[in-house]
Amino acid sequence: MLDFSWWNGDTPFGVREHLAATEQSEHHLPTMLAYVRTPFFTFAAVVAFTMMCIAATLFATLNTPWLGIQLASGTGNAVIAKSVATYGPFREVEAGSKIISLGAKNLPEQRITPKDILEEPDTLPTFEQWQAFKRNQAAFVAIIKQETFFATIAPPDAEVKRLTISATDQRPISDLPIEFWIQVLIATFGSLLGGWVLAFRLSENSAHFFAVCCLGFLGSILSSAIYGNRELAIDVGLYDYLSKVNSASTLLFAVAFASLLAVYPKKLANNFMIASVWGATLVVWLAYQLNMVPSPLLYGYLALLYATSVPLLVGQAIKARKDPIARMILYWIAFSFFLGIVFYILVSVLPIILGEDVLIPYAYTLLVFVPVFLGLAVGIGRYRLFNIDVWAFRLLSYFVGVLALLLVDIFLLYILSIDRLPAFGIALLLIGLLYLPLRNWLSGVLFKRHSISQLEFRQIIDVANMRSQAEQNDAWRKLMEQQFQPLETSTQEAAEYAKIEIVDNGLALRIPAIEGLDALELRFANLGKSLFGPRQLNQAGDMVALMKNALQSQQAFAQGVREERTRIAQDLHDNIGAQLLRTLHIANPGRKDELIADTITDLKDIVLNAQGDGINLSQMWAQLRFESAERLEDQNISLHWRADIDDDTYLNAKPAHNLRSILREALSNVIRHSKAKNVDVSLVQTKYKLNLTVADNGVGIADFESGGHGIANIKLRAEQLGGMFAFAESTVGTTIEVSLPLNLESE
């Protein structure tokens, strides 16, 4: 069964909405009836009906005595056996033999003429000729139905002879010519197309007319397929019936087609006018059935009905000028008519190429209707109308390519007299070399994919950098308006569009809300001159993606700035603020200077620690080594330095500051009090700790408790970090040990 899932929400009349509408009316209607109105049911019904018609056609075609011979008109009013079925009743007859007459015991011998094998006996100009045709058919049927009958034939190079033949009861299905199947296929195609449109447009006049049109098409083709593909004779009762169906169907097709163009896409004629045409058509048909109207008159009337499509199309074109959708529908219909003509040319040219008889079998001319019906169905179904330019180009370019191939081939064959096979090869090569690159180039020019220009890129970034939401919204809206030139733009604050989509058959483009930007709906592209199509969709998609990205990076950046500002404020408050406050209360100018210098170093840490990943311990320690050596050198104290630390240990501002202060304080003590000549500084990193040892060879501190400010500060700073401070036992000078926990960066 057909899958309807592809019919998504692109169109306002999708299955879902149709079902929704049905559900709404459910309390009025019994459930069964509601189901009947679904597109699925309608379509299924049409499929079932079509299948039944085909089954009936097959039955009527096969349930007839079989001769196993394909007849064709030969020279001089003769009928020849074009081909003979190997296992058929005529198997002894050589193909190409003239079939002169048939006869049977007790029945008059009946001559066979080309008139007897006419595909369309309805075209016989007079009623008398038609009657004569039917009489002959009846006579042949009577002969063939006999147990045995005889046929008088003239083989190509031999004497006339008479054969005794008995027909089989059933025509085998394999005997049906390809033309029969083409007819069935095209009739089915038309019928299903009509069903498809009807399924989705159950309540629209245009769809009704189109469906009737397709019904007429089906009836006309299937009825003529039965008698047109007969071997020689058909039961006259059946033929009479089929002939009625055929003429009625053909008229139905023509009148429905004219009515369709009279009401769609714009209403040109009122109901009364349409009803009058239907009435007139009914009268013509009845008159034809009563033999009051000869067939040329009937065909004249049909031609008249078809001819009205030209003024109707012109009228539609005039009326649709200001309606982009109607115009697009007309484009489709006009384009499909054009394709039909191209097809007709192809079908006419093909036999010449293939070297066959120039006469085209009726079945092939039916191919003309394929593009016409497709175009009409798409136009009435309004299925993805906005794709027309792409599709039209593709189809047209293929047809033009094939046409060019055939014309080149004909030129080579008939003008340059080149043999058939090399001529075709040369033609193929020429088309491949010349036409295909041209086509691709043209396609590239016409359907160039939009790529974001530098200017647009900058505009998008500018939108992202606007200060306020309102400004951003405004700029984004202006950018979209500049891109697509819609007649209307509406901000959809509450709308929750899931994606960028084209709605109302290309009248509107919806752009979803992006990162705080309001959703937009743009209506009437290019100042109302065109519809929104896939190209606009792509373009909008690219711009929305870029806009989204720009906004997200902008927000990430803003977030980063906020976090960094918070960190700096925190650090400034905790370190610089506290330290300056302490400095404020110190009287000793030398000490004050020292502290201020320290504070400046801390400030540098805070400013430089912009990445927030902390201060690199080994770099800090290198700087301290340099600085300490300078200080101690001034006092003629030598420094021995040992650093056993990882290169990738990072500290936060606070522990970095404390560690630095501890070392500076310790060295200040050495310089001030120890009278030492040498200092050993060692920093060793273990898994969980940093162990700092500062040892001098000076006089030592007599009283540990009166270590002065310096020692108290070191102790305090170590304890602030959860560390320990101690004097170590030593024979000379003073040794202090500080141990700091190494989860410092996470505190």
Binding site: A597, K604, L608, Q619, A622, Q623, R625, A629, E630
Partner: protein, 213 residues
């Protein structure tokens, strides 16, 4: 070795100007010192007469000290430019060095230290702190392979920079490498020179990418 006899101070804060003036007077006893407060005045001073040395603050009210250094290098290529800065942000100093500065002073240091550094500069011994040495190495790594060998660091120079980055002073480096201290000074001067040259070429691009200029 040369004696500094003329020195230009480019510094916008009056207090800092006074302090630097006093320090310079102590370091270079025979020097004529002039102080200016912005880029415009500095240019005028450079146009007016030749100078031996200029102490340039980077943040000036009407522009960057970098402009002063570039202008000075253009007008008086022999003028020794020294950056003076409070915080001493590494990137700023490296930018100044690649603009042609031949040294830098950290104003937060005690007077005695600054005096000492000025004297060393006069003796042709440029100072280089661990952080700056590290930055310079990174700078040369990022500018990638340079076409001319005269613009890339030699193995010895890289070695010297590495040791300085670890906290060793010139004298310590000299001991560690078994070289004379003057040799170390020569290497450092060479590094400064190459920094100035390399930055004029494609390095400028990398420097700006790193936020150095």
């Amino acid at each position: 070795m040369m004696e500094i006899t003329s020195l230009l101070i480019v510094e916008d804060l009056p207090e800092a100007r006074t302090r630097l003036g006093a320090i310079v007077a102590e370091a270079y006893t025979n020097a004529y010192v002039q102080s200016v407060g912005n880029v415009q005045q500095a240019r005028r001073a450079i146009d007016e007469k030749p100078w031996q040395m200029a102490l340039v603050d980077l943040g000036l009210p009407d522009g960057s000290g970098l402009d002063v250094i570039r202008y000075a290098k253009k007008k008086q290529p022999d003028l020794m430019c020294v950056v003076s800065t409070v915080i001493g942000e590494d990137s700023q100093i490296v930018a100044a060095l690649s603009a042609g500065a031949q040294g830098y002073l950290l104003k937060a240091q005690p007077d005695t230290q600054i005096t000492k550094q000025l004297r060393q500069l006069q003796d042709g011994v440029p100072a280089l702190s661990p952080a700056i040495a590290l930055r310079i190495m990174q700078h040369f790594q990022r500018t990638g392979p340079v076409v001319s060998s005269s613009e890339s660091l030699s193995a010895r120079e890289t070695e010297v920079l590495k040791l300085i980055a670890k906290g060793l002073r010139n004298s310590d480096v000299a001991i560690a490498l078994g070289l004379a201290e003057t040799t170390i000074a020569t290497h450092i001067k060479s590094v400064y020179r190459k920094l100035g040259i390399s930055s004029r070429a494609e390095a400028a691009l990398h420097a700006s990418r790193l936020g150095l200029t």
